[in-house]
Symmetry: C2
Subunit: 292 residues, 2 copies
């Protein structure tokens, strides 16, 4: 038996048309494109290549992109000042501040300097708090509007578009980062799954994973989750982006897992391609909200 | 075998002296007492009796208390206006808005109208978000200061003062309210437990509970959790406050559970008495922060 492959690449491809249609409708109605601004301080190579890739991706869908760079020794005041300027700039609808920030910068204060309404990465505590407080899906959320970090939002979109039923199911999230693990857990909880969060300190990680109907991996360790950690027929969402030699691999040992799981996202081509799609959706949503 | 009883009453009694010493030191240093303001709209009997009890409790420890009432048909603007006045009032360090609010009031907007620095109930999304984002205990939190809702904070204090080791243990929280279940889960996660959140939609609730080293109940259903749901030797924290006839009972069937658990909080006399203690700690902490 071999698992159904949940292709994020295919889904992302099909969603590009939706994004383009949304952008075109927005431009037609308002005369300008939803636009994201990226703030980068210094010349971190990964950060540069990310912003280049993002510029290309957004441009290809008709979205606006503005890069704002500061020197690698930029002060807290300069960074926060730039964020404040972008908050006030009506031609900018979404703001992302790239990490790493220079040493000594208070990252929490920079995050909170962003207007939550422009925080398309979902990193401001107001957005995290509203997500955490929001009522389960299908009910009025009883909180203000919020943005969800794009990577877990992409994982949820894969589950949703593949009609995975989460109600009452046991979802296990391995990893508790602020950008993937914790928001993924909160999103699954909103969909009425029972949710377990495991991490490096978990006593019996294979045993916990084996209880999962839906297993989400976001630890950043190549091929860590073995086939025998997976309940037969489980749905596996792999957020890992690791390199084993030259080869990009996930947190899940795909070769083993594909024989046991019911459905599985590959790496590459799984959750990765969905991240930009969800980020673009957030930028469009931010622009729409700011019209109101 | 019979479980060790984790008495919240005894712990609360012993902590009153700590609270009084903190209050006295604050008064000596600053010439005024840390003071909480309660906002109530209408005459809900439970809300009235809560605020009376709170006034008495705070007064007994030397803390200040101010009750602000509005009519039961108060408008959004009036309620938010009062909250804004209290935000600006330097003689008020903590603000609590009592529920229920009148029909038609946007409760989320009222919560967010509060200054997070005075939100001693920990209900503002900024406080929830900082709690959710905070790094595990023992590391720099990497977020701004935050308040935790008093009830789960009290449960954690019981665990801590009874030297319960949480690292790597499996904690199961039954219930996902914003005021108990979800913040309790986040607090346990910060202490490096693996944390599972269950609720009314959980497929096999007894089975999930039986995997818990630490079982926290916050569902509001009298005696729901039976003895056979509990792993022998587990630690049970019962947040339930229910009435079976005239008798106050928890969410856990205490008579059965006490024979199976290793440690258990009783109801009454368990987590309940700790709530006011932790709220007072928050009021003192708020006053201290506002001095800075």
């Amino acid at each position: 038996m071999s698992a159904t492959i949940l292709s994020g690449s295919e889904l992302a491809k099909s969603m590009r048309a939706e994004i383009e249609a949304d952008v075109q409708a927005f431009v037609k109605a308002h005369g300008y494109a939803p636009t994201a601004a990226i703030v980068r301080a210094g010349e971190d190579p990964a950060s540069i290549s990310y912003s280049n890739a993002l510029e290309k991706a957004l441009g290809a869908r008709g979205l606006g992109f503005k890069l704002h760079t500061l020197p690698g020794n930029a002060s807290q005041k300069e960074i926060v000042g730039l964020v404040a300027k972008l908050n006030a700039d009506k031609t900018v609808h979404g703001i992302m501040v790239q990490e790493p920030l220079p040493k000594g910068i208070d990252e929490a204060a920079v995050k909170e300097a962003m207007s939550p309404d422009k925080d398309v990465d979902g990193v401001h505590p107001v957005n995290t708090g509203r997500l955490a407080q929001a009522a389960p899906a299908g009910r009025p959320p009883m909180v203000g509007p919020f943005f969800v970090p794009a990577t877990p939002a992409g994982g949820m979109e894969i589950l949703k578009r593949n009609k995975v039923n989460l109600l009452g199911k046991h979802a296990v999230v391995v990893g508790r980062s602020n950008i993937v693990g914790k928001p993924m857990a909160l999103l699954l909880l909103r969909e009425n799954a029972s949710v377990s969060i495991c991490h490096s300190q978990t006593a019996d990680l294979p045993g916990m994973c084996r209880t999962a109907d839906i297993l989400c991996a976001a630890v950043g360790k190549a091929n860590m989750i073995k086939g025998y950690w997976i309940k037969p027929g489980a749905i596996v969402i792999d957020f890992g982006v690791n390199f084993a030699g030259d080869k990009m691999v996930g947190d899940v040992d795909f070769e083993e897992a594909v024989k046991v799981a019911g459905m599985i996202t590959p790496v590459p081509g799984g959750t990765g391609p969905m991240t930009n799609i969800m980020l673009m959706k957030n930028v469009i949503e931010a622009a729409k909200r700011q019209v109101k």
